[in-house]
Amino acid sequence: MCAIYAEDEQTTRPTDRRRPVVEVHDLVRRFGEFAAVDGISFDVIEGEVFAFLGPNGAGKSTTINVLCTLAHPTAGRVLVAGFDVTAHPKAVRRNIGLVFQDQTLDDRLTAQENLRFHAVLYRVPSDQVQARIARVLELVDLSDRRYDLVSEFSGGMARRLEIARALMHVPRVLFLAEPPIGLDPQTRVLMWEDVLRLREEAGVTVFLTTHYMDEAEYADRIAIIDHGRIVALDTPEALKAAIGADTVELSTTDDTLATAALERVGYRVEAVPEGTRVYVEKGENAVPALIAAAGVPVRSVHVHRPTLDDVFLHHTGRQIRESHAEAMIPARVRAWHSRRR
């Protein structure tokens, strides 16, 4: 079955970008009575960056584990790269790249040795291994560290090497579990640049989970998951647009007068403790007109565009709290940093 597939794949690349590479139908995963994933359905289109956004315990990890064949679905049907995860787990694994939350490199080996190990286990033909190593290291900008021991790598470099390793066997989908906290913001940004470049240069579909709102912004589409269910799924722009317009808050010398004046001109307004809240299409552009229409001196202006935080709040009634994650720092950071043996 693998033989047929691999040859078939060769003829169908370059990829049809509207074709789903991950198909999930009514996926349920129970642990006893508890449904960690409670009937979700979605497709991931070839070539897109797809983010799974939700707080810890929302069902992100469980879903990714099922998609990666590391956990069995209780019910439902999941196809990855055209293969059923239950019936053909090995075929699925050969077609996906995995970057786990915690590091899974051998730090006593060099970058090249780690990549070679992976190449052999994932059946990369021997005559292609060297070229492939050079290529993936170039993709994550680690070419000059090829012969260095991983124990000498920083956390960010190690993470990039893991991404490079996951690409060694040319996966159709790259699964990125959210990186542990403990990576500095600069490294996170760099990693995102890498991910977006991979999509451009390697044409790989990226499926990632995160509980960082600002990270999800980079994705083509976002699925917001809470209590094992997908509560919203769309592009970041559409998600934000769906929950409403921009708001401009004006603080004036006489808020009551200002509110009345703006309302008279036809703005949708609301009196708030800080002053007057106005709902408009494009916040920044509306400011001059609003100040003119207020009729009283304006002390301060605050323009607020809906964020994914607002989207999440809108759909779940809760804010996504980093504190969920903070509680997990000790275990994760330990795995990330204390790798020396």
Binding site: E9, K90, A91, L121, R135, G203
Partner: protein, 286 residues
């Protein structure tokens, strides 16, 4: 946008599956060797304990037991100490899976689209090679002890060490797949490894022990691995019949003296069982 600089993988033909699994085993084996070669301090510290035993017990007991026509207790102990070195390294290597788990690399192996048996075999082969190498390094001490070496003897020693190492590494892999945490590793080392070594005849002759202890020594797989090593070493030494009687190298079971072939067969049998258990343990590991 549509550039695909990385070529897709070529077909996985059924006839190449076996070759791919063999490559996997070879790669896991190679990793063990690279790691061994890179940790010179471990190679050195692996020597310290046996040398300490050799000096402390060898010289200490030599005074007590005395020398029989040029053959003393240090010479008796030497093959046992080599065996001890092999066994310790082998079990450590097999159990390094616990480290692999702790530091994440086990996951990289387990999620690969490869047979678990190939991984277990590679781990066993790698650990066994390392352990046999560590045991063979002990031979540099032979002149100091007064043990006479020949080319043929060295070949025999390496062969026996390899067999012993395979059995014990597989045993280590099997145990490691049933251990979740590092603490468990310490417990196993204390509760299993040391009694196994002490009751194997590596450090003192097994004759003249109380019956219940004799039974335990005969159930100990190590007993049958240590004895052949001692027999080939002794065969190359000049030993008078009196010395042979004082320093026995054979194992008796139910009143029968086992031949070296029988001992090797028993060790090979244990190796086969442990390899099967290791593969099974590895296959069930999450």
């Amino acid at each position: 946008m549509s550039t695909v600089p990385l070529r897709p993988m070529i077909a996985q033909r059924p006839e190449t599956v076996l070759r791919d699994e063999a490559r996997t085993t070879g790669m896991v084996w190679l990793r063990e060797l690279i790691r061994f070669e890179r940790t010179r301090t471990r190679i050195l510290s692996g020597l310290i304990q046996p040398v300490l035993f050799l000096i402390v017990m060898g010289y200490g007991m030599a005074g007590l037991v005395g020398s029989i026509e040029g053959f003393d207790f240090k010479k008796f102990m030497f093959p046992g100490i080599m065996a001890m070195s092999v066994v310790t390294t082998a079990i450590f290597s097999g159990m390094s899976i616990v480290w692999d788990r702790e530091f994440g690399f086990l996951r990289e192996m387990l999620v690969a689209p490869t047979s678990r048996a190939s991984l277990a075999l590679g781990k066993t082969a790698g650990g066994a090679t390392v352990a046999a190498a560590q045991g063979t390094i002990m031979l540099i001490l032979a002149p100091a002890i007064g043990v006479h070496l020949t080319g043929a003897l060295v070949v025999e020693i390496v062969g026996l060490e390899l067999l012993m190492a395979i059995a014990l590494t597989a045993f280590g892999v099997f145990v490691a797949t049933h251990i979740e945490r590092m603490e468990g590793f310490q417990v196993v080392m204390q509760m299993l490894l040391f009694p196994m070594i002490f009751l194997s005849g590596a450090l003192f002759p097994l004759n003249g022990l109380p019956d219940w202890l004799t039974v335990i020594t005969r159930l100990n797989p190590l007993t049958y691995a240590v004895a052949p090593l001692r027999q080939v070493v002794f065969a190359a030494q000049h030993m008078t019949p009196r010395a042979q009687a004082r320093f026995p190298s054979t194992v008796e079971v139910f009143g029968h003296t086992l031949s070296i072939g029988a001992e090797i067969a028993i060790t090979a049998g244990f190796a086969a069982i442990f390899i099967a258990l290791a593969i099974r343990g590895f296959s069930r590991t999450e």
